[in-house]
Symmetry: C2
Subunit: 393 residues, 2 copies
């Protein structure tokens, strides 16, 4: 995509000999929107970026893995500011237009020296071709880099939307997500971009969970540089353009969100929890989220056990009033529960075959209203415990 | 204790050759209080018992493991009623005074034949000595029977309180708990007994979690037969007696609750999360519960990793507003975090030694108010996943 360049280096922030610092740069200041963690415990880069995005403009993003720069107090903020100063000086851009992003261990101070030593190499190696290198540099327990792209048409002109994300553990974004960076050449107003991002985020990153834990460092940032030279999308009588852009952005975010779930720590399966027939979308979301985060449901998926009683039990504690005697449940195309009652051994055997697949949908119909929601989760495996009992050591 | 008898048999409800049905009987109708699951999905015995306890009286409890009789519709209710009819006829007691309780797999119909075949043996073997046999008959994935007792003094007379409980998985009681049955010879009014039970339950069973899942079958029942012949506890100018009884009951429930946590599926450690300095007790409870249920915190405990960043991260998403920069954290006697910042490598090494113990306390001080709460949890081990991926098969 015209106007954006990327680079990544092995800076040694925490580990030696792995890509761990990435730089993303736009030739010109971009219209930029962001959503951030709603955690009360916010990392230093999150606090800084929220301030800097108040004017809806950014030109560069410096991102590192290995250290979250969270729970690091004033020293952490100073360290982050030192890093953004390095970028501003080296790139000759306004420091207020440099965003910072970190992921990794919480509670350790950022190794600023690693950034000082590598800033020249970072800047000199910026190239339009290094997109995936940055996607690799931000990985922690991820097993593959996560990228997605989509081209839409606005007013007969092609507009590109391209994104990257990282995340495998501490995943239950709520109003935000793990790190994701999205770039577009669309010409779009700041207000429209923020609105499209917030809406798409709500239906994508905010609907996934690996382990029910929300990170201190979650952020999604979208930068639009306008080089597509489309008719500007600004919400004044251009509903079709707004919708086309929003749908394109949502497709890219959903692609990235599902990649995070499929790469969930220890995950062997990706599961969509599809709830309908609830009294409201909000009720459907609560019910789906409770099922999607239940350790007992997720270990049953890992064990390929069509133990639907655990799904009903999870729904029962979701804090939503519903009539259990009307619930229908299906695994893939196989109906397993009708009006709250199991359909017997044969249906369970067919449902067990569905559970042996890598991706499947659990359908929940409450037959009680028009509310619906889709949540995305993974199974809970022995490897999840191994990864998280060993991490850091 | 005078007036209560117990029996248990191998009825073959689901498995052969293990104690799976228990009968508890009082010589006379008892003042009886109960608290039950708040799940929207309630098992048949829960629904029946809630109706039968409206008058605060019961005389017998029939309990089985192997089958929860939950999600079983009208057929499940009929099956439960058939069982209570058997008890009423064989024992010559009012059927309305027979309580039912089930635990085991959800979604399968109750095997009434097993009860028909064993009711005579159950009744004929009733004895004051078989208390622990019933505690064994209600075990599912429990590895040991859970019993507790305490003698208090009311008006110079000894009053006994004795209880049993089961539970190892699907444990996050909320307004209720897994199965627990408590007996006392206290002479006490129905209103006072219910009040003492509800208050004690709130600070004991409602503060434990193994895996964050709430059961469809949770119940705690307390039966008081009055044979201690103490001055009746009825809330009319006998505050000291009420307090003595409540404290005794709470001690028994807390003992049983902690036994459930220590026997949590796969658990290797029992951890108290002690929160103070919160704006309110409710805030403290929310923060403590979020830490106590976090998969990342619990796997770090299993890995004996003093990864305090995960505790701060869990607190951050608890839905409570608090200043992270004031948080103090300690593992046992070792302070690890002061005013939101880690105290360094040496403190972490000392904290790691605490984590190697079987029981320890995580102290969280928000330094922001007078609110406090204690939650009780266990670690999250490889065996938890193994047990729950294999259960049923």
């Amino acid at each position: 995509m015209k106007g954006f360049t990327f680079s990544a280096v092995k800076a040694g922030v925490r580990y030696k000999d792995r890509l761990d610092v990435g730089l993303i740069c736009s030739d010109t200041p971009c219209v930029t929107a962001g959503v951030f963690t709603t955690s009360q415990v916010k990392a230093a880069p999150v606090v800084i970026d929220q301030g800097r995005l108040a004017n809806g403009t950014a030109q560069a993003i410096l991102v590192n893995s290995g250290c979250a720069n969270a729970c690091t107090g004033d020293e952490g903020v100073e360290a982050a500011l030192a890093c953004s100063r390095l970028v501003a000086e080296q790139m000759k851009v306004d420091e207020e237009n440099v965003l910072l992003s970190s992921t990794g261990v919480i509670g350790e101070q950022l190794n600023v020296r690693a950034f000082e030593d590598s800033i020249k190499e970072l800047v000199s190696s910026l190239s339009a071709d290094n997109f995936e290198l940055v996607a690799r540099a931000i990985m922690t327990t991820d097993t593959f880099p996560k990228v997605a792209a989509k081209t839409i048409t606005i007013d007969g002109r092609p507009v590109e939307i391209r994104g990257m994300a990282k995340g495998a553990g501490m995943i239950m974004p709520n109003m935000a997500t793990m790190l994701a960076f999205v770039f577009t050449d669309a010409d779009i107003s700041s207000a429209q971009l923020q609105q499209a991002l917030s809406a798409a985020n709500e239906r994508t990153f905010n609907r996934i969970t690996v382990d029910g834990d929300t990170s201190t460092n979650d952020m999604v940032v979208v930068m639009a540089n306008g080089t597509a030279r489309n008719r500007v999308i600004d919400g004044t009588g251009d509903e079709a353009d707004c919708n086309a852009f929003s749908a394109g952005l949502e497709a890219v975010l959903k692609d990235l969100a599902l990649q995070i779930v499929s790469d969930g720590e220890g995950a062997t399966k990706t599961i969509t929890i599809s709830v309908r027939g609830a009294n409201s979308d909000e009720d459907a979301e609560k019910l789906g989220r409770t099922v999607a985060t239940s350790s007992l449901v997720k270990t049953a998926f890992f064990g390929e056990d069509a133990n639907w009683g655990r799904i009903l039990a999870a729904m029962g504690r979701a804090g939503v009033v519903f009539p259990p005697e009307k619930v229908d449940l299906s695994f893939g195309d196989v109906q397993l529960v009708k009006n709250g009652l199991g359909l017997g051994r044969e249906a369970e055997e067919k449902a067990t075959a569905v559970l042996k697949e890598k991706c499947f949908t659990i359908g929940i119909d409450l037959q009680d209203g028009d509310g619906g929601a889709e949540l995305y989760t993974c199974d809970f495996s022995l490897d999840y415990v191994k990864i998280n009992a060993d991490y850091r050591s």
